[in-house]
Amino acid sequence: MPKESSRREFIKRSTKGAAVGGVAAATVPAAAAESAPKPLKTAHTHQSTSICPYCAVGCSVVVHTLGDKARNVKPAIVHIEGDPDSPINRGTLCPKGASLEEFVQSDRRLTTVQYRAPGSREWTRITWAEAMTKMARRIKDSRDNGFEATDAQGRTVNRLGNVAMIGGCTDTNEINYLLSKFRFGLGLLSYENQSRL
């Protein structure tokens, strides 16, 4: 679970800060207050624990976000660091792990559904609904064409030979399990992940 304590600490600290601020305003000149060092950007963050998505050492990371909880604010990641509690990495990270924030917030992240029509020279943006309708139709048509309920010897084989599926190694067990239900629902056999590459 996300650490509720940090939220509570945040409130406590803010309240205390306001009270002290109230007193300070009366006694400290404005210029001195402005020159006081700013708190660390991670001082008021919400912390979530996560695992580095790169190699398989499995380093734990702490993802610091600002702006959550308030209903009208989208949380944003301000920092990702190694988790000192992990017996594997004890807070350390390699150069790739240390720059994970850039991976999450890369300006190359895909944020829209893109479609390339047959023979087209370009991507066009479509909605999820359009994409789902089209993709489901393609899958259904291919399955109806390629599904083999029985083989030449009349044995029940219920297999689909003309659609392949790959992936999963970049995602969680649970996603992999859902992919297995998806592929066995279709009857798809040609299925591989990065473990063979």
Partner: protein, 792 residues
């Protein structure tokens, strides 16, 4: 890994071979340095390239890429002839004493039974007694016992033969052998760390088998600081392996074959029988695992009367395979309609890039869910973006493939569990929402599946039952939570509705469901065990049993029963992972029945033999690993020139599957990763792109001098598949090797670039061949042939 990262610090000897953890698993490598600091462990690094791992090792030996089995075969020979193996362990815990059928042998590069390009394995089998148990000779003297056959088989692997094949000197080999076999002492442990340097070969599985044999001879399996440890290259490559592939269902249950038409027939073929009277043979529980999986898949539709829905699981034709090389070859032949890719990039990571691009251009449709626009999503732009590099690619106008590129959430935007290479299932939290219209993969999968199902409900169609009967009973079917899924995977008692405590509670009567039996115990009535953050370490061995959850059964060291002798006395009393107190085993979760006395059954409970296999008849090219040359090799096989490459080598015959010879392509090429990049992803992030912005070609000094190349000179590297260009990096790291009396040069090629991203460069797999391991289908990315020319 049989053991785990934190356990590596228990080693007395660390053999790093086929991997480079200092650069590619830097944080994991700290446990190697801990072993060195705390136990004065010796580090032995065997690698074609002098890596940063080599730089901190006690001994580095260079070898020619693809000759690791010769080196390990030499170690087996050395251990047996110099009496540097743990005799009691071998007697008690391996199949060394098992008798093999009459007629088994090896000559001219082939095992017995070789005929017309195929093996008949009749002579590779155990000799059985009247009750179906394997006959044994505990003295290991019988001429047909595994121990004697092994001794004979490896008698050819003398230090001189090893040196001649591998390209090191016999002295270097002997130094390494002396250091590695320190672990033969009962109170010493040695670990083996490997990665893709071992698996990217056309004999990868046999290579790992050879390593396992060495570790068994040293008595290192089941020991802290021991084991055979794959470091693995993706965050959840272990989990995706655990969840199945073309030939496996979740939990390493085999996908049915067409001749296994009913559940009863499937279970009969796939449930092993004990091969010794004292073998627990845990896979005897296969009916419980399989029935519970079918209940998880088909829910109320799975009944005893319909074999729990077994008929809806697809059946593979006998002899057929649907591995990577095969279905991309079928795609290339125009036999495939569509491909769905969740987070994979075949144009970059499949062998023979031009063939991958051409194969995709023959699809009717392609669906890609990704964080970034990858080369696979953009394959139809290859001509536009990198015409010079991919001249065989078609113009976009001539490619009729319809492409859907779906923006998917990244790791920090989803919860769920990754399994690291230590088999630890570590739960992560979702920190933020995906950006823009990007969606979490579980929602994409659910929407797509339910949309297809809705079409079958509305229109009917071909065999709708498998689609309609797959259980999808999440609280919000279009938005399943990964918590719901994780609970389903763990398994449920369908009578009480309670989460199962572990796979010991599974039943074969339909009263339990379980999505993956090896994960059972990961989410019990006590909650999510994968999210645990406990710091305790009761054994003092760095096993951290309350941090996350390890499959199976939270066991941290596999085969740990073998850390003690057959009476239960630990080989090393100072670091026993489990101990027998007269009533129960304590310490790590025992790989044994928890309350069974040490002498009541054999140690390897997962194998029908009850002991580990030195002799492994289930592999396709032989029960013992043998040195074969890579599919493309600069020399003839010194052991048997008439059987050069793996006799069972898997290749394909399309017009794009060319192979070269040393006449045109005289140099051995290896591919590798750099510390600053992750695979083909980090060319989309700033710092990695800045730290390693450019592709380069690592050229050995002597070859560079011959060709007038200095660092920075532009060179062309070509193979039978294509060519690429880049600046040379002249290096001492790739030593000139002497192989079969001649000089062999090796060329180093880092992999991380492509035609989309913040930085661009050639895709290395443009050069690699469609040559695959016949057991598991890994391609040969190490040890293929190239030519090198100076062009700048």
């Amino acid at each position: 890994m049989t053991n785990g990262w934190t356990d590596v610090s228990n080693a007395d000897v660390v053999l790093v071979m086929g991997g480079n953890p200092a650069e590619n698993h830097p944080v994991g490598f700290r446990f190697v340095m801990e072993a060195k600091r705390l136990r004065k462990a010796k580090i032995v690094c065997i690698d074609p390239r002098f890596t940063r791992t080599a730089a901190v090792s006690d001994l580095y030996v260079p070898i020619r890429s693809g000759t690791d089995i010769a080196f390990l075969g030499g170690l087996i020979h050395y251990a047996l002839t110099e009496n540097k193996y743990q005799r009691k362990y071998v007697e008690q815990h391996t199949n060394a004493s098992f008798l093999i059928a009459e007629g088994f042998g090896f000559s001219e590069g082939h095992f017995s039974g070789w005929k017309d390009g195929k093996y008949d394995k009749a002579t590779w089998q155990y000799e059985l007694d009247g009750q179906g148990y394997a006959k044994v000779d505990p003295t290991l003297e019988h001429p047909r016992c595994v121990f004697q056959l092994m001794k004979t088989h490896y008698s050819r692997y003398t230090p001189d033969v090893v040196a001649n094949i591998c390209g090191c000197t016999a002295e270097e080999f002997l130094k390494a052998a002396a250091m590695i076999t320190i672990a033969a002492a009962e109170d010493k442990s040695g670990t083996v760390l490997y990665a893709l340097g071992w698996t990217h070969h056309s004999f990868a599985v046999q290579l790992i088998h050879a390593a396992a044999m060495v570790q068994l001879l040293m008595g290192n399996i089941g020991m802290p600081g021991g084991g055979v440890n794959a470091q693995r290259g993706h965050a959840n490559i272990q989990g995706s392996t655990d969840m199945g592939s073309w030939n496996n269902l979740p939990g390493y249950l085999k996908i049915p074959r067409a001749n296994q038409g009913t559940l009863a027939e499937y279970l009969k073929s796939n449930t092993p029988k004990a091969l010794r009277p004292n073998s627990l043979n845990y896979w005897g529980n296969t009916p419980k695992f399989m029935t519970s999986l079918l209940k998880a898949y088909y829910g109320p539709h799975a009944t005893a009367a319909n074999g729990y829905g077994y008929e809806w699981i697809p059946k593979v034709a006998e002899g057929a395979d649907h591995s990577w090389g095969t279905f991309f070859d079928e795609m290339h032949a125009g036999k495939m309609d569509g491909l769905i890719s969740f987070g994979m990039n075949p144009v970059a990571n499949g062998p023979n890039t031009p063939k991958m691009i051409r194969a995709l251009s023959k699809l009717k449709w392609l669906i890609v869910a990704e964080n970034f626009e990858t080369e696979t999503a953009a394959f139809w732009r290859a001509k536009e973006l990198a015409d010079k590099e991919y001249p065989q690619s078609l113009k976009a106008e001539d490619i009729q493939t319809e492409v859907f590129l779906l923006p998917a959430a990244c790791f920090a935007e989803k919860d769920g569990a990754f399994v690291n290479s230590s088999r630890w299932l570590q739960w992560k939290e979702a920190a933020v929402d995906p950006p823009g219209d990007a969606r979490r993969d579980q929602e994409i999968i659910a929407d797509l599946f339910l949309a297809v199902r809705a079409l079958y409900e509305k229109e009917g169609g071909k065999s709708p039952e498998p689609v309609l009967n797959m259980q999808w009973n999440y609280a919000k079917p279009h938005v399943p939570t990964l918590r719901e899924v994780a609970r389903e995977v763990n398994g449920v008692d369908l009578e009480t509705g309670k989460q199962l405590n572990g796979f010991g509670e599974l039943k074969d009567d339909g009263s339990t469901s379980c999505g993956n039996w090896v994960y059972s115990g990961s989410w019990t009535e006590l909650g999510n065990q994968m999210a645990r953050r406990g710091q305790v370490d009761p054994t003092g061995l760095g096993l951290y049993p309350e941090w996350a959850w390890s499959w199976p059964a939270n066991r941290r060291i596999l085969y740990n029963r073998a850390s003690a002798d057959d009476q239960g006395k630990p080989w090393d009393g100072t670091r026993a992972p489990i101990r027998w107190n007269g009533k129960r085993w304590g310490g790590d979760t025992p790989d044994y029945k928890a309350d069974a006395s040490p002498d009541s059954m054999a140690a390897f409970i997962m194998l029908p033999e009850g002991v580990a296999r030195l002799f492994a008849p289930d592999l396709v090219e032989g029960p013992f690993p043998e040195h074969y040359e890579p599919a493309e090799s600069p020399v003839d096989n010194a052991l048997h020139p008439n059987a050069n490459a793996n006799p069972m080598l898997k290749t394909y015959k399309s017009d794009m599957d060319a192979f070269g010879t040393a006449k045109d392509f005289p140099f051995v090429a290896i591919t590798y990763r750099l510390t600053e990049h992750f695979h083909y992803w980090t060319k989309h992030t700033s710092s990695s792109s800045e730290l390693q912005s450019n592709f380069f070609v690592e050229v050995p000094e002597e070859l560079a001098t011959e060709k007038g190349i200095v660092s920075g000179t532009k060179v062309r590297v070509s193979s039978a598949r294509g060519d690429l260009e880049g600046p040379a990096l002249v290096t001492k790291r790739l030593r000139t090797l002497k192989v079969s009396g001649r000089k062999v040069y090796q060329i180093g090629l880092p992999i991380h670039w492509g035609f989309v991203g913040k930085v661009h460069g050639p895709l290395i797999n443009k050069l690699t061949p469609s040559a695959y391991d016949p057991n598991c289908g890994t391609p040969e990315y190490k040890g293929f042939l190239v030519n090198l020319e100076k062009i700048g």
